[in-house]
């Protein structure tokens, strides 16, 4: 749960998922695609080839009409199974999560295990997984041997139905939409507690527009 301190509100959002599913690529595309008032450099903390060893960090922000500075810090976790300690540490204190799944049929087991790992680690770091703003993105839709959208929808329309998005992070398609869905989920989860509308005049549309930036339509 983020705090408002000195007119600053910081959300921590985490891109989670199996190794090589495209988390880092999502962040790189967001860095290119988004045009909020404030946009930092993307900080990549050590990689091995294109595999994240620690995390990537992209800071974004905008100032609301009330003067409140809304900051977003987007992180990626290392997807490789061996880095579970790091993954758990990065997930700590997350206010929202994008789960990036790899659409390839060969990756179904990895997706499932990583998702289970997300739920377990969320519990370990004290996050209420049922209430955690979460968007599930099926990435790499450009590849040939992928699970069909219908199948994905059928499989993921369980008791809790998280927003599902389909993306090609490599080209940027669906990356913004995924982020948009997460912003809305985060807003809905915290707006009341933080009195964003009442005290800061910040509604969902303004919140999302401020972070997507560039006067972009949603």
């Amino acid at each position: 749960m983020p705090d408002i301190e000195n007119d600053r509100l910081t959300f921590k959002l985490v891109y989670y998922g199996p190794a090589q599913s495209g988390k880092t690529t999502n962040l790189m595309r967001l860095h290119d695609l988004l045009a909020p008032e404030l946009k930092g450099e993307m900080m990549t903390l050590e990689t091995q080839g294109d595999r994240t060893l620690f995390f990537d960090l992209l800071p974004l922000g905008f100032r609301a009409a009330s003067g409140l500075l809304v900051k977003l810090r987007l992180f990626t976790v290392p997807g490789q199974v061996a880095h579970d300690g790091t993954r758990k540490a990065v997930l700590s204190r997350a206010d929202g999560v994008v789960f990036v799944a790899d659409s390839q049929k060969t990756q179904e087991i990895n997706n499932a295990e990583s998702f289970k790992n997300l739920a377990e680690n969320a519990a370990r770091v004290g996050l209420d997984f049922q209430r955690l703003p979460l968007v599930v993105q099926f990435n790499k839709r450009d590849l040939p041997a992928i699970v069909s959208e219908d199948e994905v929808r059928a499989r993921w329309s369980g008791a809790v139905s998280w927003p599902l998005t389909f993306a090609m992070a490599l080209t940027g398609e669906g990356v913004r939409e995924t982020f948009d869905a997460l912003l809305r989920a985060v807003f809905r989860r915290f707006a009341d507690e933080l009195e964003l509308e009442r005290r800061h005049g910040l509604d969902e549309a303004a919140f999302v527009a401020g972070l997507l930036g560039g006067g972009a339509a949603t």
Binding site: T10, K12, L38, K39, G40, M43, L45, E46, F54, F55, P59, L60, G61, L69, K71, R73, F75, H83, D84, G85, T86, K88, A89, V90, S92, R93, R124
Partner: protein, 397 residues
């Protein structure tokens, strides 16, 4: 320097005083002007700035982390801010990596502890299970022991019954003919009583009463009866060995001495053509009941000698001894008639004998086995019909 890796750093946190001093001095020298480093709130952290100083912000993420204040030219000041920012980014990355590493290690450690606890729990479960199993095995063993004991008792009863039946049969036989002999002998005595009244008739009466036959047959009857009684006595003697009525003390002896003693009994009594040989190795002295073992040796040698004699050809009986793993081994080997496997299978049964009635009680091997087993030893037969036999004893040291 500990805390969440993702906390937002202040300038003072990223650049401790000593580092700020070094960097600030170097930057001031490069600018060739007075320089102050201010934090995000505008407070001076280091240096001093003239009143006409201009400010240049440096941004780490999206907000100014602090400002440089100096009267140096704006271009130079901007360059100094860029330089300082690069230092800050490198430092921030380093600090984040350190803190994340600490968090990750803590998380891994926690995971290890959890796994360890799970292992300890499962170990405890296994221990409980194994104790339970152990208990069940013990119960089972106790039950089996009891069953075995019952079985053993049943078998013992059966063999006692068998023994009793055998004894009855074996003793009945001689008693039967001894009785009839004595009855006949009573008839003969009556004839002599009748002779008394007819003494005057002399020879004629003697002849008439057929007393020549009476005397001859009477002697035969007496001899027969004595043999029968002896036979009963022998059975009783063997039975005493079998039932261990008298329990002597254990002694520690060299069994070669006992074997020599047993063999000496046969000197001068061997049937023609039978040779008795000894092949002893030095033996460790063992605790045993020498009197009982002597009885075993005597019986085995007697049996072997008889088996050779039964062939009607010359042959040998060899008594050998040697130390063996955990004890000693004694063997009696003969070149006698041998035994079929059916005979071997029954050889230890009480009253089983292949010999004609009257030559033995059939208790010899049974008694021998009982005695060897009482010594925790083993007895075995190796034989083939027509090619002799070896009886081997193992006695533990």
């Amino acid at each position: 320097m500990t805390g969440a890796f993702d906390r937002e750093f202040t300038l003072a946190e990223i650049l401790p005083a000593a580092m700020l001093e070094t960097l600030g001095t170097a930057l001031a020298n490069l600018l060739d002007a007075d320089l102050a480093v201010l934090d995000a709130g505008g407070d001076v952290l280091w240096g001093r700035a003239p009143a006409d100083a201009s400010r240049e912000a440096f941004v780490l993420e999206i907000e100014p982390l602090g400002y440089l204040a100096s009267a140096a030219s704006p271009d130079r000041l901007r360059a100094a801010a860029v330089l300082l920012r690069q230092m800050l980014v490198a430092r921030a990355r380093y600090l984040m990596a350190c803190d994340l590493h600490t968090d990750a290690i803590a998380a891994d450690w926690q995971a290890l502890l959890e796994r360890n606890q799970a292992l300890a729990a499962s170990e405890a479960r296994y221990k409980a299970l194994s104790e339970e199993l152990e208990q069940r095995v013990q119960d089972q063993v106790r039950l089996l022991d009891e069953r075995t004991r019952q079985l053993y008792q049943a078998e013992k009863l059966a063999s006692v019954g068998q023994l009793a039946a055998g004894v009855a049969h074996e003793i009945n036989n001689p008693i039967g003919f001894v009785r009839s002999n004595i009855a006949s002998f009573g008839g003969y005595l009556e004839k002599f009583a009748a002779l008394k009244a007819r003494l005057a008739e002399g020879q004629a009466a003697w002849k008439d009463l057929d007393l020549d036959f009476v005397i001859e047959d009477g002697a035969e009857i007496v001899k027969d009866s004595l043999e029968g009684v002896d036979r009963v006595a022998r059975i009783v003697r063997d039975l005493r060995g079998f039932s261990n009525v008298d329990r002597p003390e254990e002694e520690i002896v060299d069994l070669n001495d006992s074997l020599r003693e047993a063999m000496s009994v046969f000197s001068g009594r061997l049937p023609p053509g039978v040779e008795l040989r000894q092949a002893f190795s030095a033996l460790p002295r063992i605790p045993c009941l020498p009197g009982h073992l002597n009885q075993v040796f005597l019986h085995l040698i007697e049996n072997a000698v008889q088996a050779v004699a039964d062939t009607g050809k010359p042959g040998t009986v060899t008594v050998s001894s040697r130390p063996a793993e955990g004890g000693i081994e004694i063997a009696v080997t003969d070149t006698g008639v041998g035994m079929s496997s059916a005979q071997q299978a029954r050889a230890f049964e009480p009253f089983y004998t292949t010999r004609p009635v009257g030559s033995g009680t059939g208790l010899g091997l049974t008694v021998a086995r009982g005695i060897v087993q009482a010594h925790d030893g083993r007895i075995s037969i190796d034989s083939q019909p027509g090619s002799g036999a070896t009886i081997t004893l193992f006695l533990p040291a």
